[in-house]
């Protein structure tokens, strides 16, 4: 996947661009920092004079130049460790596994080391008590005896602490996941608009970290101090830097640590923001090209899920933008191509396919999740009723266990990756058709019954369920010769899974194991919305194209699939409405942020349907859709949703 063209060319170019801008901005920040560094409250009259004098030194410029370069290496770390689609760990075990993963530990060390290097350069900027590990043993007068410099240790420990904690906190909150901005901005404008916010947030974070660090050092600081002093063969001073006895001596130390910590966080945040900005910048994909070397840059070739996530996101982002703002692009989408059998619009078909696939995937995931939760809820209810009434429960539960495949809810469940149009198995078909045949059988004139998707509950309908389930000796399965081999393999898998299930059940008896492997519902729910950006862009793109087709589509290429598009949008709307009824709450900001996306997706889905209903109005009565969808669509036409 790394050999994909954007990874090789565009991504590298964007990363280098971010690197250059990071160096430039950090260089400017360092000028301001240096001014604050040299401020001496006792000599405030000569602050500007001192500042200018020190700036005349070659040493200072060399350190600033190098420091800006070192701080820009954050970009290199981000380039190797970023994600496009957020994914939260669903259990404590997975969280622990991730924490102790070699790659993760390595990045923690890298960030910590980089912070230490930056602080070391900062201490070298102006000769001070933080510059050297050696100092006079007495605080008051020079006695000639050399001791270990605790100020130096304090600075380095704090740098490591800030670097490590900041990385872990950001990693936990999924901050290293690219976030696509609402409005594209140039780098300079972005920095201008967000400079004050970045500095403010960095200062607040640093203050919090400093508070924790000082408390830690006050109680346990002697351990690293003695260790390192022993390692260097130096004697420790007879006074303590952090002590309640000399509060006034602590203030300048706190100021220094706060200043350095803020600078480090500003470097980190500016670098990440620049990296994010450069790599989420809209890429101009081509809609068509006569040159074969451009084949990989064609928009329609980059929309599918086989592409790297970043490429797919950029492609959908571009599609959403151009369909909204460019009439010429829409004209190209609506155009017909000669060749093959008849004239057809391959661009529109590919765009529609990919957009609908994204939407369907989300709908299926939500439906599966809803069903899983409702079945869990049902099980809980059964458990409660079993406790309350033994006799009645035993008969009820035995009935339920024996006939899971006869319940409508089981039939309605669709596999995540299933594609109804390609599957030979009828049980993959739309659930509403089954409802129509079971609950509304009297309605003979229903278009859904008479249409090509007519579903009759024949034995074939149960095939996949039997294949999945326990009735392996069913005559239907035995007659299907092609399935025999699969059934054997399936039985083996079943035995293995049964073994694992027993082990798992045994392990769950230990509370600690149960705690670790128990899946947290809010986190598994949050992962449903990890692909929200692509889904939003898909909804926007397809609805805008459909809206524009009313006046711009001269050949009617869009209207051929209008019923399909409306059905998919309404299905998603239904799934989102149902999901909304499940209560969700979380303590993690990253999880909450993902869960909040349900509102955004619901709004976007409604927007997409309203775009179509507002444009087509009562003409939608002529679109062949099932009665349930028609009823829902009526609500949108009348602005009642």
């Amino acid at each position: 996947m790394d050999s994909h063209w954007p990874i090789l060319h565009e991504f590298k170019f964007r990363t280098y661009s971010a690197l250059f801008w990071s160096w430039t901005t950090n260089f400017l920040f360092l000028q301001v920092f240096f001014f604050l560094w040299v401020i001496n409250p006792w000599n405030h009259v000569y602050v500007v004079h001192d500042y200018v004098l020190r700036l005349l030194s070659f040493h200072v410029w060399l350190v600033i130049f190098t420091l800006a370069f070192v701080s820009a290496t954050y970009i290199a770390l981000f380039a190797n460790h970023f994600s496009v689609v957020p994914k939260v760990e669903v259990s404590h075990y997975e969280t622990l596994k991730k924490c102790f993963h070699g790659k993760h530990v390595m990045y923690v060390l890298c960030h910590s080391l980089l912070a230490i290097v930056i602080f070391t350069f900062v201490s070298l900027l102006v000769p001070s008590q933080y510059s050297s590990p050696l100092t006079d043993c007495s605080a008051q007068a020079s006695t000639g005896e050399i001791c270990f410099n605790e100020h130096w240790l304090l600075l380095l420990l704090f740098s490591g602490f800030v670097g490590t904690v900041n990385f872990i906190a950001n990693e936990k909150e999924q901050k290293y996941c690219l976030s696509f901005p609402l409005v594209q901005q140039t780098r300079l404008l972005y920095l201008k608009c967000n400079f004050s916010t970045i500095v403010k947030n960095a200062t607040i974070s640093c203050t919090r970290l400093l508070r924790n660090f000082v408390m830690f050092y006050y109680f346990l600081g002697f351990v690293p101090r003695d260790l390192i002093a022993g390692f260097l063969g130096l004697k420790t001073c007879d006074y303590h830097v952090i002590s309640v006895m000399n509060i006034f001596a602590i203030l300048p130390i706190l100021w220094t640590l706060l200043l350095c910590g803020t600078l480090l966080l500003v470097f980190h945040d500016v670098s990440w923001n620049l990296f994010n900005l450069c790599n989420t910048k809209r890429y101009n994909f081509l809609l068509e090209s006569v040159f074969p070397e451009d084949a990989t840059k064609i928009l329609t070739a980059n929309l599918n899920g086989k592409q790297p996530p970043l490429v797919q996101h950029l492609a959908f982002q571009h599609l959403s933008h151009v369909t909204c703002h460019s009439a010429n692009v829409r004209k190209q989408i609506f155009s017909l191509e000669r060749g093959g059998v008849g004239n057809r619009s391959s661009k529109w078909n590919v765009i529609a396919d990919e957009c609908l696939l994204c939407i369907k995937n989300l709908t299926n995931a939500l439906t599966d999740h809803n069903l899983k939760h409702s079945s869990l809820f049902d099980n809980d209810q059964k458990g409660i009723s079993r406790l309350s009434s033994k006799s009645s429960t035993s008969s009820q539960s035995s009935t339920d266990e024996k006939s899971p495949f006869l319940s409508v809810s089981t039939l309605r469940r669709r596999p995540l990756q299933s594609d109804a149009s390609n599957s030979p198995n009828m049980s993959y078909f739309d659930v509403s058709s089954l409802d129509a045949t079971t609950t509304n059988s009297g309605n003979v004139n229903s278009p859904y019954r008479s249409g090509p998707n007519l579903v009759i509950p024949t034995p074939k309908l149960w095939t996949r369920q039997l294949y999945k389930g326990s009735f392996s000796n069913s005559p239907v399965t035995q007659n299907a010769d092609g399935y025999n081999e699969k059934v054997d393999q399936h039985q083996l898998n079943k035995q293995m899974s049964g073994l694992f299930a027993r082990i798992e059940k045994l392990a769950k008896k230990f509370s600690i194991v149960s705690y670790l492997i128990k899946k947290m519902p809010d986190r598994s729910a949050a992962n449903l919305f990890s692909g929200r950006c692509v889904c939003k862009w898909a909804l926007q793109s397809i609805s805008i194209v459909v809206e524009a087709s009313f006046t711009e589509d001269n050949f009617g290429v869009v209207q051929r699939r209008l019923h399909e598009i409306i059905a998919v949008l309404l299905d998603l709307h239904t799934a989102l409405e149902k999901y909304n009824k499940l209560p969700v709450a979380s303590s993690s900001q990253a999880v909450l942020s993902l869960l909040r996306e349900i509102r955004g997706l619901r709004n976007e889905c409604k927007n997409a349907i309203y775009r179509i209903t507002n444009t087509f109005g009562s003409h939608l009565d002529a679109v062949p859709i099932n009665p349930e969808h028609k009823r829902k669509l009526r609500g949108f036409v009348e602005h009642k949703e």
Partner: protein
């Protein structure tokens, strides 16, 4: 004083009808007959709450002491609140003049620093009420019972913001009137319905933005506070103008006259992004998107304004105006911007390129504004009187009618000037007449109803709390969506046709629309 019979009822066949006898025959058959009858009296308004509302205030009338108010302001709005309270005119007896001046200086300095402005502007010295009054579309924001009115772009309903800081939602097909109240809903400055949604309403207030979700099917008249979402960004208050993305995305644009930042909100995530700092203008008083959403005007308190192109957010700046932009409106294509400035009776026009037709959209505005209308009163042609003339200007979505409301200082403030607009072959404004009220009250706020089937409908909020509708019946030539009912001529159409032939000498050109509806469908 205007007599009662001069109240304008509608525009028919190009003429304003003031004869009350027409009402029974025509208006009851039209869409306007379904519009809710709204009359907000001063007695029906509850007492405006103090800065920090307590449960006690719901039961007893009580006067807070100066220190209590300071305490409330501190808890509610921090240092800004305390300084504002001390500078308020109500406490000039409690606060020594020197302290008061110091507080005023400190407040102005804080506003100046907070707004990230490089130069000092006089509006920073105004009190909050004066500030909102001067930048509001309402000509008498402080005293008017109805401060703002916002029609939904498609559904037949509107929201009105009242002086008592409540919002009422009126439906055309429903008697239910939801009343929206929230403790942060103070000094409402703007209301905006989300374009592709039937339920979401954004409210700009003194301190924050509130997003109400009002279920159109709910029969509840008091939506709970769970139906509201608060968006707040430090230093970006008061929110003087709001605008949803015209493309229907979940993006809300906001600006403040005290802050140079233009902010866009991701509403569901409650995340904001500053998209521009207009640092040389003292703030951004108003954001006005064109109907297609391709351009947006950013009016400022200074004598300059900017127009942004929304695909790339590039902008162009126009300066050297004689004052700040007071009123502005876009034509439906987003190719013409009409604006007027404070202290100038003329309406200016700026032309723009159609960015939808190019692959790389740019603002492409004409260099100089052209005067298209001069509203100098006849008796002031040679005088050097310097005062405000035009307060508000609205252009209907068909692009065929323009209404202008005058400033209270202007002698014509009791009427609304109505113009018909034609763009082909050249842009012209033709005076149709003055829309008058009942003679006792002055218009404070005007807005056109979007999606009016039979032409345009101007909604006027009067100073006595009355909401009046002035329908203008003409054939629309911009219909994209063709409803079934339009295929059959409505009784109103038949009546107006007959009326035009028999009674009035109307201009026939109004009826000869370039795209006939029935022919468009059959083809």
């Amino acid at each position: 004083m205007i007599s009662e019979s001069n109240q304008t009822l509608c525009e028919l066949n190009g003429e304003l009808v003031t004869d009350r006898s027409f009402q029974g025959e025509i208006l009851l058959e039209g869409q306007v007959a379904t519009f809710p009858k709204v009359h907000v009296t001063s007695e029906s308004l509850r007492r405006s709450a103090v800065t920090c509302e307590t449960a006690q205030s719901a039961f007893l009338e009580h006067n807070e002491t100066f220190w209590q108010r300071l305490q409330s302001a501190w808890y509610g709005h921090g240092l800004f609140g305390v300084l504002t309270e001390m500078c308020s005119d109500e406490h000039h007896q409690n606060v020594p003049n020197a302290l008061r001046s110091s507080c005023q200086f400190l407040l102005v300095s804080l506003r100046w620093v907070n707004g990230m402005q490089f130069t000092f502007f006089p509006h920073l010295k105004l009190s909050n009420d004066q500030l909102l009054q001067s930048f509001s579309s309402n000509s008498n924001w402080l005293e008017s019972p109805i401060r703002h009115l916002e029609w939904h772009s498609k559904a037949n309903k509107f929201a009105i913001a009242l002086k008592d800081d409540t919002i009422r939602v009126h439906y055309c097909d429903n008697e239910t009137v939801p009343v929206l109240k929230h403790k942060l809903q103070r000094n409402i400055t703007d209301l905006k319905w989300k374009p592709l949604s039937a339920s979401i309403l954004a409210v700009g207030t003194q301190t924050a933005i509130l997003i109400w979700n009002i279920d159109p099917m709910s029969m509840s008249t008091r939506p709970s506070t769970g139906a509201v979402q608060v968006l707040s960004y430090s230093g970006h208050s008061p929110v003087t103008s709001l605008s949803w993305s015209p493309h229907g995305f979940d993006q809300l644009f906001a600006c403040s006259a005290l802050s140079s930042a233009i902010v866009v909100w991701d509403v569901c995530q409650k995340k904001h992004q500053v998209i521009q700092h207009v640092t040389t203008s003292g703030g951004v008083s108003r954001l006005l998107f064109s109907l297609g959403g391709s351009k947006v005007l950013a009016a400022t308190p200074s004598s300059s304004f900017r127009v942004f192109e929304t695909a790339s957010w590039s902008n162009e700046r126009w300066s050297q105006l004689s004052g700040r932009v007071q009123a502005a409106c876009w034509n439906p294509n987003g190719t013409i911007l009409l604006f007027s400035v404070v202290g100038d009776p003329r309406v200016y026009s700026l032309g723009f390129g159609d960015s939808h037709q190019s692959d790389k959209p740019v603002v492409d505005g004409s260099k100089n504004a052209v005067v298209v209308l001069d509203l100098t009163p006849d008796d002031e042609q040679d005088s050097d009187v310097k005062r405000d003339y035009i307060h508000s200007m609205v252009w209907d979505e068909t692009g065929e009618r323009l209404a202008i409301m005058f400033h209270p200082d202007d002698p014509r403030s009791h009427v609304i000037a109505l113009y018909s607009v034609s763009s082909l072959p050249v842009f012209t404004l033709t005076f149709r007449g003055n829309i008058s009220g009942d003679g006792e009250s002055a218009p404070n706020f005007i807005a056109f109803k979007p999606n009016f089937n039979q032409g345009s409908c101007l909604t006027v909020c009067y100073s006595n709390g009355h909401v009046a509708y002035v329908p203008m019946y003409f054939k629309r030539s911009d219909r994209k969506t063709i409803a079934k009912q339009q295929l059959v001529a409505s009784p109103l159409d038949r009546l107006s046709f007959a009326h035009s032939r028999s009674m009035l000498n109307s201009s026939q050109s109004l009826w000869s629309s370039p795209h006939d509806v029935s022919s468009a469908v059959t083809s």
